[in-house]
Point group: C2
Chain length 282, copies 2
């Protein structure tokens, strides 16, 4: 089995490690526009061999795990090249534009749009770990547009990675994920920015900051190369979440200016309810 | 040695566990306005005996770890009662109003204002753990206003808890902590609120939310009883941080509306610098 991983970073590299563990017969080929990353992936044994894009014509499975604006071009190109029974999977954090872009492609049935909800704030080959996907959710979009036999092949792979499967349409995916993922990243980046701007003397931040700050600002370590195109592709939804978030912050500020601390107490108590929702997320 | 802990929750209970481990001769008395908490603290062996406020006249050390608006009344009352060589410590997250409130108290020299930067999003006696303070920072304010021998006694205690000491004036403490702690709590609470309001179907949040969301919204589990009075006491500084945070979010939104994703990339890259600052915070 020839598996081609396009983008040998956190996601691609981690999938590769799990595939190597469970499919001893698989040969993993790595493709990456960053030659240093590709070399590093080889050194770290994330891949068996380096490869280039035209070689995907030999692939049984192609996994595309690169920033989402690059994905759109690469998916089309890969579909043009692959065999009739090749499974092509993408792992991007936005789904609507990607699905639209290959809607009428003659090999649309070779493609499966997925979003594995897994990752860390780190990126690149050195961030790849075994078991990253275990117990995590994988959102599959437009499953009905993928050939039945390739659906089956993909589900077998996700089962081995230990993922729970949920099906959604791309539009709903992008809308919901804007709230639970994209907005968190912006709130975290802007929190980091606000504090850095104020605390020119870093030693002061370091000494006063506790685990609470570290947790809230963790996502501000994330890769701009990955996140800029996500915000671009999901612009409309993200702006909607930002409007609501800013509105809620302004209301909170208004309550403070009015000395309405009883209402502030209630607001926080209502939101404590998040405890119940978070149970089960690691 | 008679140690009285007023407020047997996360902070008071955790200090008590460490004192018990290191000072076998200490008898720990617990005082709490919540009788169920006090009983629970006794059952969990956080304290040796239950006590009431008038008994602090027998104390060698009094540790006050209750919500900050209650602290102001209780500290004064305790100072009225204690012996001349009793050390009285508070552990509140705001320092300016607390220090002002006992500025002219005849027993001011018995008091040491501290803020141990330690804790979790949980509260109450069940949240108390051994070693909570190990490697954490303890901010001490107006150290020069505490009697020399009692400074020494307090530092010995903090050394045993494993804390690093930093000295600050109360005004600077409240200003800096608004950025690195109070703002994080509001950003997290409002993120939780925004997502809960949108995602009425909780199952959807649960399935789509990953570890990134869980981390960013973690502080929204915090106790409203603890946090409301903190925001009230630190109102001016907190509103300033909120203004800056909201401004940064609005600027980010403006960049998105202008399709200036190059600038968005730069903003995120600049903030990535937080990595370096966070190193060393657990």
């Amino acid at each position: 089995m020839n598996v081609y991983i396009i983008g040998v970073g956190l996601i691609g590299g981690s999938i590769s490690l799990d595939i190597q563990e469970h499919f001893s017969e698989a040969t993993i080929y790595g493709i990456d526009s960053d030659t240093a990353h590709l070399e590093e992936a080889l050194q770290r044994k994330l891949i068996h061999q380096k490869a280039t894009l035209p070689q995907v014509k030999n692939a049984d499975i192609v996994i595309i795990s690169i920033p989402v604006q690059a994905s759109i071009k690469v998916i089309e190109h890969v579909l043009n090249e692959v065999k009739d029974d090749t499974l092509v999977i993408d792992a991007g954090s936005t789904k609507e534009q990607i699905c639209q872009s290959i809607e009428n492609h003659p090999k649309r049935r070779n493609f499966l749009a997925t979003h594995p909800i897994a990752g860390t704030e780190f990126s690149g080959p050195k961030a790849a770990v075994k078991g990253l996907f275990h117990g995590k959710t994988n959102i599959i979009c437009e499953v009905e547009k993928t050939a039945f036999s390739l659906q089956e092949k993909a589900l077998e792979l996700f089962k081995i990675l230990g993922m729970r499967i949920r099906y959604m349409d791309p539009k709903s995916h992008d809308k919901h994920i804007a709230y639970v993922s994209h907005l968190s990243h912006i709130s975290s980046f802007m929190l980091g920015k606000t504090v850095i701007e104020k605390e020119k003397n870093e030693r002061d931040i370091f000494d006063l900051a506790g685990s609470g700050f570290a947790s809230t600002v963790r996502l501000a370590k994330s890769s701009p190369a990955m996140w800029t195109p996500i915000f671009e592709q999901n612009k409309t939804n993200v702006i909607e979440t930002l409007n609501e978030y800013i509105h809620n912050l302004q209301e909170f500020k208004k309550l403070m200016l009015q000395d309405n601390f009883e209402k502030i107490y209630q607001e926080m108590e209502n939101t404590n309810h998040i405890k119940k929702i978070l149970k089960g997320i690691k």
